[in-house]
Amino acid sequence: MSVLAILNIDWQTLADGLALGAIYALMAVGIGLVFGVLRLVNFAYGQLVMAGAFALALASQWGWPLWAGIVLCFAVVLALSVAMDHLVFRPLRGHSPAVMLVATFAVAFLLQSIALLWFGSLGKIASSLAFLNRPWTISDVDIRKITIVAVIVAVLCLLLLHLLLERTEVGLHMRAASMDFATSRMLGVRANRVISFAVLISGALAAVVAVMLTVQTPLVTPDFALRDTIVVLAGVVVGGLNRPIPATLGGFSIGFATGVLGGALPTNQSQYLPTFVFVAVILVLLVRPRGLFDFSRSVERV
């Protein structure tokens, strides 16, 4: 405990790190799934989360019950995901990764500008889940309810996703498509179906993330989740972009590191937090360029 004490880290900080890690892990999976089938890093992922958060904020402003707000959040995020797939990803499929990446930048800024026009830069408050910020006291340690909820929800989501990928036909098709898209089509795997599925699941995860992030940050502004997305993208790269499990671990690690460092740094120095996080990212990539958690060896074909 002494090292932790010197670093000014207590159990609460660790718990907060765990919760942020869980949320970032879900974002990492959402980004990784789409990357797997489309070889596309969706930079606009954060704006999906932002849109979901605004849906929650509007629902709480209108006095809707909590469940209706969550339904609205999912509806908005899923509709936007499908629209993105049809209007941007599909027409550009087969173009170079650079073109697709720049296109998602454009989508990101477009969505952010729309939010700015509609809601203004001051943003709105999503307060319906604020009660989850109250603590539970477990043997003298105060742990916010959202911490526990976030970890449980993330574990459940990852478990469901694992079952979907490992146990269902469409899951097998998604895995095959992310390993070798051309061959899977040749075997009769429907490209559009697999991509739509990945985009939908990725969107559903974005909605879950939106719900949980609004608890941590009830003030929803047009740049909501933007910083998180950049950090998660770094985490996904650190973990290993190409595989769901390394990507998840990468997202979790960087979320955990961010949460713990954020708690450990003195308040007047918290602006240095991203510096520490990204220095760590650079160090990891220098040592393990293929990603921290990518232990797969390329299998030699005879």
């Binding site: 051309a182 089509r185 040749m186 075997l187 795997v189 299998v299 074909r301």
Partner: protein, 231 residues
């Protein structure tokens, strides 16, 4: 159903890979496509599968396949065993086979027994990672995966490439058994003599065009084979 290729042309940019090629493959027949590297053999298979830009016609029975997406060609009853096998090394053998079900038209029973019968080694290793199999076993898995789709037509692109002679025997024996099951088999091969001997007809391609057609009787006529390649 009979595969009918008519006046097929394949161009990649300025390269005219296949020129005005016509042939048929009927059920219960093996048709060979042989010829030197770059003769247009693989391009022909890719065109049939919807993987290469082509003009002309490719019909299965009465249905025109040219212009369909690869996944729709596969779902119409054509299966390709690609060059280099393209096995999913990280998936298990059985998962590789289950991918073959994607193109199966009857959803009735996902029964893998008929292919296990043909390739016992695939059954024995079904729980293993496909990447752990030897080259010959992977080739058998690739053929088995194509057969799981229950296609009318089986296309094979250099199935004996890089295999030990004893495994080549296994592959050719399997092709005979597949033919006996009533499939139409189109075989692209470098091993000209084996192919000519095994096939009902073998078309020799040169520069993308049909150069000569050989029958099984020509397999032992080495002079004729060599002449077919060199002329």
């Amino acid at each position: 159903m009979t595969l009918t290729v008519g006046n097929l042309d394949v161009r990649y940019g300025g390269v005219h890979a296949v020129r005005d090629l016509s042939f048929t493959v009927a059920p219960g027949e093996i048709v060979g496509l042989i010829g030197p590297n770059g003769a247009g053999k693989s391009s022909t298979l890719h065109a049939i599968m919807g993987l290469a830009p082509a003009s002309g016609s490719v019909r299965l029975g009465d249905r025109e396949l040219l212009g369909l997406r690869p996944e729709d060609v596969a779902r119409s009853g054509i299966a390709l065993v690609p060059e280099g096998r393209r096995i999913y090394a990280e998936l298990t053998v059985e998962e590789n086979l289950r991918l073959g079900l994607a193109a199966r038209r009857s959803r009735a029973a996902a029964d893998l027994d008929p292919v296990y019968e043909l390739f016992p080694v695939v059954r024995d290793f079904r729980a293993r990672q496909a990447g752990a199999l030897s080259g010959g076993q992977q080739q058998q898995l690739a053929i088995a995966r194509a057969l799981v789709a229950e296609p009318d037509v089986l296309l094979l692109d250099e199935p004996s490439l890089g295999l030990a002679p004893s495994i080549v025997d296994v592959v050719f024996a399997a092709l005979d058994a597949i033919k006996e099951r009533g499939l139409a088999v189109l075989l692209v091969e470098q091993r000209a003599q084996r192919t000519v001997a095994a096939a009902n007809r073998s078309h020799v391609l040169a520069n993308g065009a049909l150069h000569l057609t050989l029958g099984p009787g020509d397999a032992d006529d080495t002079e004729k084979l060599v002449a077919a390649y060199l002329s």
